[in-house]
């Protein structure tokens, strides 16, 4: 059984249908890239999977590890290993990054019936994972995303992912707004986290992220439907011909 099974998923925002029948199957150990133009529904897909209540599911089904994902609260999805790397990470003034992560990690561990990590073990883990994304230790002590540059925020998302060790990591336009060095560091973090038990869903507009993270599958999302799926060569084709081809097909 696949880790994530999306069947004929429909979703709307404020009454307007954005997702119009998505079918997608993601297995453990796989990296899937979902590419599409602005307004195609990429971000909606990631938010619906993560459980944002501003989006209304109007049809279809999503199974995660065999369970009905859409029936769960956002925090329960997270505790079961669904991680969303945000396109626009929010700031939480006054809450130290490490304190926030400790609360998150312990909530997840508690859900699994595990003991809380003690301070020493926790510190060891965050130091180790911070080095994975070249994260400055000063950023760990600062308030969550407060005053971070765009690149630092994205790096912080990957760092959080590395600490929380999800089963399914959905990265929503993690590459947007990054310069090439930052992009490389983020990609390096993702590659280090690739694992036979872990699946990735990379949501992206551009092909350039895929120069650094090699996907197993590429899907083209246009007007709320997946128009075509293929291997990494599909991304290269997109880079050459653009999305127009698929939009015409849709018309």
């Amino acid at each position: 059984m696949a880790l994530l099974e999306i069947k004929n998923l429909h979703a709307a925002v404020e009454g307007e249908e954005i997702l119009r029948g998505i079918n997608l199957s993601v297995d453990r150990g796989e990296v899937h890239a979902v590419m599409g133009p602005n307004g195609s529904g990429k971000s909606t897909l990631s938010k619906v999977l993560a459980g944002h209540d501003g989006y209304e599911v109007t049809g279809g089904q999503v199974l995660y590890d065999g369970k009905d994902l859409l029936d769960m609260e956002a925090e329960d999805r997270a505790r079961l290993g669904v991680f969303l790397g945000f396109q626009y990470p929010v700031e939480i003034p006054g809450v130290a990054n490490t304190y926030f992560l400790k609360a998150a990690l312990n909530a997840i561990r508690k859900h699994r019936g595990e003991d809380e990590l003690d301070a020493v073990a926790f510190l060891k883990r965050i130091r180790e994972r911070a080095s994975l994304v070249n994260m400055d230790e000063n950023l760990l002590k600062r308030a969550v995303n407060e005053g971070f540059s765009g690149g630092e925020k994205k790096r912080n998302e990957i760092f959080q992912m590395a600490v929380l060790e999800p089963q399914l990591a959905i990265l929503d336009e993690t590459d947007s707004g990054l310069d090439i060095d930052a992009l490389r560091i983020v990609a390096q973090g993702v590659n280090a986290m690739r694992d036979p038990d872990r699946a990735f869903l990379l949501i992206t507009h551009y092909q350039r992220l895929l120069d650094h993270i090699e996907p197993d599958y590429v899907h083209v999302l246009v007007n709320g439907r997946i128009r075509q799926s293929g291997g990494k060569e599909l991304a290269e084709e997109l880079e050459r011909s653009g999305y127009a081809l698929f939009e015409e097909n849709a018309a």
Binding site: D53, A78, I92, A103, A107
Partner: protein
């Protein structure tokens, strides 16, 4: 309204008041009513000298001529001052800590307040013990016990109830009482000066750093009564002290009046840190009952380089009317005010500070954080005055409000009166909400909604909490959690 805003309203709308019990104990009362006889009754009960009775009576005459102030941004029905009993005390007054009524000890135990001194045993490692805290416990109108008095006395520190200070140290009381808050300063200060019962008295002699936290726990227990305590803290040249007060009361349908006066005096190079965790009963979810907390607190930085810092965490009371202030008279003196105030349900708070710069090169800092939820109404009111004598005075003020839900309100009334051209005054203010995006971000990381709200609110208050003594910072954080999210699930 989205699901999460709904949950926030549920979280913040319900009451999680843990201290609402009543202690069943035999008490004696003054008959209700306010007149010269009431004042004579209280003064006689306390066996006071004639000068103090006269002092009280003059305050009462002042009060009778004053008008009830109506400038604060709070609404309440007229208070019937004749319906209140101005004195209530447990019948059996203990002579020492060992004689305190077990019911009272039990009360303080339930409130989590240590009324026993830690015994020091020879040869026992005490390094992992909690720091010692000296406690004065005020129950309705009287102090029922003060711990560590003898140990503190070894260094010349006086820590006792105000009644005791009047008896044992009349010269100090006479010298300082009413010098910072004159007895006719304002309506409620005049009332307090006429009928004040107990409170704490602290005197730190020249050059002494008080070796432990001093604290007073105020408990209102009796019904149809008010609490009118008076606290006086004096730090002589080079002395320093950190003092904390806590307050709780039973849940009742009536409104009870708490009108206190606190005076602080810091001489040259003295340092007074005064922290408050105020958790009076706030009333029920419909706004019935709760304490009217009308308090005058003022510190006088009389000496050069002296420093007074007020830190307050105000989560209780139906109505709060309170402006802990600093008069910066000594050159190079420093005044600080750090405040977290929470209003929810139908609570109302009009609170802030006054910084009066008189000396040269005086500095003041104001950081006020207001959280308003439910139907809460909150106002920050602050005055920064720079007198013509205050050359090179500086002030920095920051007022941040957080709104939770869409039925509450936050207001800011900053007054600035600069009479010296060299004054530097900065004021920053922000208003924010807990956003859906912040909540979703927390939840996506596995953090439940309740914990997320408390995390965000605590982050908002962090600048103030870090000013509290360590042990109390943790308490304050917990209190905020209970206040905001006790009853979900």
């Amino acid at each position: 309204m989205s699901a999460s805003s709904k949950t926030i309203e549920e979280i913040t709308g319900k009451r999680g008041y843990e201290y609402g019990f009543v202690t069943d104990i035999e008490q004696e009362w003054a008959p209700p009513g306010l007149n010269e006889d009431t004042v004579r009754f209280i003064s006689a009960k306390k066996d006071e000298p004639e000068w103090l009775l006269e002092w009280r009576l003059e305050a009462l005459r002042g009060f009778m001529e004053m008008e009830h102030p109506n400038w604060a941004h709070v609404k309440y029905p007229p208070i019937d001052f004749q319906a209140i009993s101005y004195y209530a005390a447990p019948k059996n007054q203990p002579k020492s800590l060992d004689e305190v009524d077990p019911k009272l000890l039990e009360t303080y135990e339930k409130l989590g307040i240590p009324m026993h001194e830690q015994e020091v045993l020879a040869g026992v490692d005490t390094s992992d013990r909690k720091p010692e805290v000296a406690v004065d416990a005020v129950f309705d109108s009287v102090s029922v016990g003060t711990t560590y008095k003898d140990k503190l006395a070894e260094q010349g520190i006086i820590f006792c109830s105000m009644s005791e200070a009047v008896k044992e140290h009349p010269e100090l009381v006479k010298q300082y009482l009413g010098t910072v808050v004159p007895r006719k300063d304002n309506y409620f200060a005049a009332l307090n000066s006429a009928v004040f019962s107990d409170g704490s008295f602290v005197f730190i002699p020249k050059g002494v750093k008080c070796p432990m936290e001093l604290s007073t726990y105020f408990r209102i227990n009796a019904g149809h009564t008010g609490q009118f305590e008076r606290t006086l803290i004096i730090a002589e040249e080079g002395a320093s002290v950190s003092y904390l007060e806590g307050c709780t009361a039973p849940m009742r349908d009536e409104n009870q009046l708490h009108a206190a006066v606190v005076e602080l005096v810091a001489l040259d190079d003295a340092d007074i840190k005064y922290s408050t965790v105020q958790n009076w009963y706030p009333g029920d979810e419909n706004g019935v009952g709760g304490i009217f907390n009308f308090v005058t607190k003022r510190g006088l930085c009389a000496g050069k380089r002296s420093r007074i810092a007020w830190t307050q965490v105000e989560t209780g009371s139906a109505i709060t009317w309170k402006y802990p202030s600093c008069v910066l008279k000594g050159d190079d003196s420093v005044g600080e005010f750090y405040s977290v105030a929470v209003t929810r349900g139908y609570q109302q708070a009009d609170t802030g500070t006054k910084m009066i710069h008189m000396g040269k090169n005086t500095r003041s800092t104001i950081i006020a954080k207001g959280i308003s939820a439910g139907h809460g109404e909150q106002s920050y009111r602050g005055l920064v005055r720079v007198a013509p004598t205050a050359k090179d005075a500086r002030n920095y003020s920051q007022c941040d409000s957080m709104l939770i839900g869409d039925q509450c309100a936050a207001h800011t009334f900053p007054y600035i009166d600069a009479q010296h051209p060299g004054a530097q005054i900065e004021h920053e203010a922000t208003t924010s909400r807990i956003s859906e995006d912040q909540l979703f971000y927390c939840k996506q990381r596995g953090i439940g909604e309740e914990e997320a709200v408390s995390l965000i609110v605590n982050g908002f208050c962090r600048d103030v909490f870090k000013k509290l003594p360590m042990e109390f910072a943790v308490e304050a954080q917990k209190l905020l959690e209970v206040t905001l999210e006790d009853s979900v699930g």
